[in-house]
Symmetry: C2
Subunit: 408 residues, 2 copies
Amino acid sequence: MATITKVSPLAPAAFPDLPAIDGVRFATVEAGVRYQGRTDVMLAVLDPGTSVAGVFTRSKTRAAPVLDCQAKIGGPSEGPAAILVNSGNANAFTGHYGQTSVAEVTQAVSKATGVPVERVFTSSTGVIGEPLPHDRIITQLEVLKSGFSRHAIEDAARAIMTTDTFPKGASAQVEIEGKTVSIAGIAKGSGMIAPDMATMLVYIFTDAQVDQSALQTMLSAQTDRTFNCITVDSDTSTSDTLLLCATGASGVDATGNSAFAEALERVMLDLAQQVVRDGEGATKFLEICVTGAASDADAKVHGLAIANSPLVKTAIAGEDPNWGRVVMAIGKSGAAADRDLLSIRFGDILVAEKGWVSPEYREEDAAAYMKGQDLVISVDLGLGDGSATVWTCDLTHGYIQINADYRS
Amino acid sequence: MATITKVSPLAPAAFPDLPAIDGVRFATVEAGVRYQGRTDVMLAVLDPGTSVAGVFTRSKTRAAPVLDCQAKIGGPSEGPAAILVNSGNANAFTGHYGQTSVAEVTQAVSKATGVPVERVFTSSTGVIGEPLPHDRIITQLEVLKSGFSRHAIEDAARAIMTTDTFPKGASAQVEIEGKTVSIAGIAKGSGMIAPDMATMLVYIFTDAQVDQSALQTMLSAQTDRTFNCITVDSDTSTSDTLLLCATGASGVDATGNSAFAEALERVMLDLAQQVVRDGEGATKFLEICVTGAASDADAKVHGLAIANSPLVKTAIAGEDPNWGRVVMAIGKSGAAADRDLLSIRFGDILVAEKGWVSPEYREEDAAAYMKGQDLVISVDLGLGDGSATVWTCDLTHGYIQINADYRS
């Protein structure tokens, strides 16, 4: 397995200072699941009454821990809850053995922590098709139990990394009825040396009190505008998992509160964009704003067609204002478009309109713009009110190097 | 514009020996549309009564010549017909000027050759968003007229190349009622140095006599199994055009003849596979056979999901038997799949079955297989009778180099 030594050029300067969330404690350990000399298991325990919502990969070949989590979300919400995550092995495409591993781990966590087994959620990320050495995790549970801390969320973010080049965290605080409610989340994703596919795991915690079904509804809607609007390479993981836990420890009921919903969406978007910024081989961060589409759904189809086009992504890597490839991607997306109504901007530069290059367009202006690290492409379809924004990174030799040059 | 000097390692040893098709003559010329020192315009004229069928890109931003051809296919079939193709400029996303250029060229061809304008078909391939210098083409029509030959199909194949690394041709002959009917075709596609998207042009000629509507029905069905089953990078051109011309000069009515249909499909598949073999940066040719799907349509969705996955394509490039990425691609495709019923083979090697790696699988066998140049991945879904085969190439540093490292 190759080692990534270089941090993404798009990484934030430092891990952010995240607020401790009342009602959540973290512990991490070196279990040696696959990696040596680093933590690879994190355990979070959540106070009784915590609402847990989740969204998961839609893959039809999803991993055993994902199936187990999906079966448990929306179930009984009494008692405490727990989340255990290991890196190094995805426990995906491991047949019946995979389900056995999940059962062994969740039962052991339940026994060690007193959390009812139907409230123990697990995720696994790393190599697929190899049996999870679950005993290595189970034997560390006593060590984990002795190490819980309210302040160990950065340690947790590091323990779930696979080939990520930096740990990812984000937070927000919002005043509700004179009290402060906090949200803090961590994510991993998009570093994928052989032999894995992109695996994105996200855990977000808040001390707000939110009814489980309201939490789930909010999470699903916001996922569509955040994590479901990012792409590195169009390949969907068998393990994608996002869990959102509301402990209620603040005593503030945020069910239906719009300020809380907005703060949560900011945290989700921040984490989602950090995943893109750690995209394999990424050297440019690209925002694609689509407006004037026949519907919001159409706008997203266009945005993702542009974001997933290898020709657009390589043009970005080459700092080439190749707007013809944007036209191509719009044309192939399948969503409604009219060649003669659409307009395209690179940053503030109007590139194309009325079915042709804009009369005031100067190639040298766009070429200068493309040298930036954070780029915006705006497309207006001129058809209706539909809009969407998606985020991606460029496609570089670094991507090929990570995924082709090394053997699993 | 970068120059491609190296021929694809997957190229055939030589251009094939194609039979002359009675009723078709070709001429080529150096018009200097964009390239210098090579032919860049080909003109084919077809005897009166020739049936012309066509299939075209579904892009919503398709080029002016495509729109013009689509409007003419299925129209009056009296009189001769003509096809003019230029390389170097795609006349795509060129607004009203693009339509003017098509009108100027088709009217000039009509005047020069006596072919009714509604039977003059044109294609353009090359840079997009720049006005087609149609006068350069029109001034060469007299030269073209003086150079017609029944035997110049290879010259025609060369004149339509853009960044292709080899000219592409294929043929078949079939006995019908004791007479020989011939089919010969040429194609260009998949070499795309900046600033173009993949542009695939295909022209197939036969001396069979086939009713236009029957020809169109056959062509559309066969395109779905041939050209619509290949992919280099999932990006769809604004100019894709396939024209099939049946001159009837053999005097043999092949309407509804199954031997003829099979021969035509072989020619189409041969040309389609040559396009893949000239895929940008390609070093491996990959056939993906999907069986046991819920439907043929589902099988094709799975096949294309595997063929378009950057992670599968980079694994092939790295000679890595990374079957987990195949599982991932099946899972994300959206078509029906059951993790525990599918099986995967690399060549004859059973890799995965029953939701896990096969017990007899040995990584070293698959690793040795992956060193080959022509590879087959077979997937059986275990669900039904649906099947499909698709073809693609690997994703290498060569692709990035061609599309990112050079400016347009």
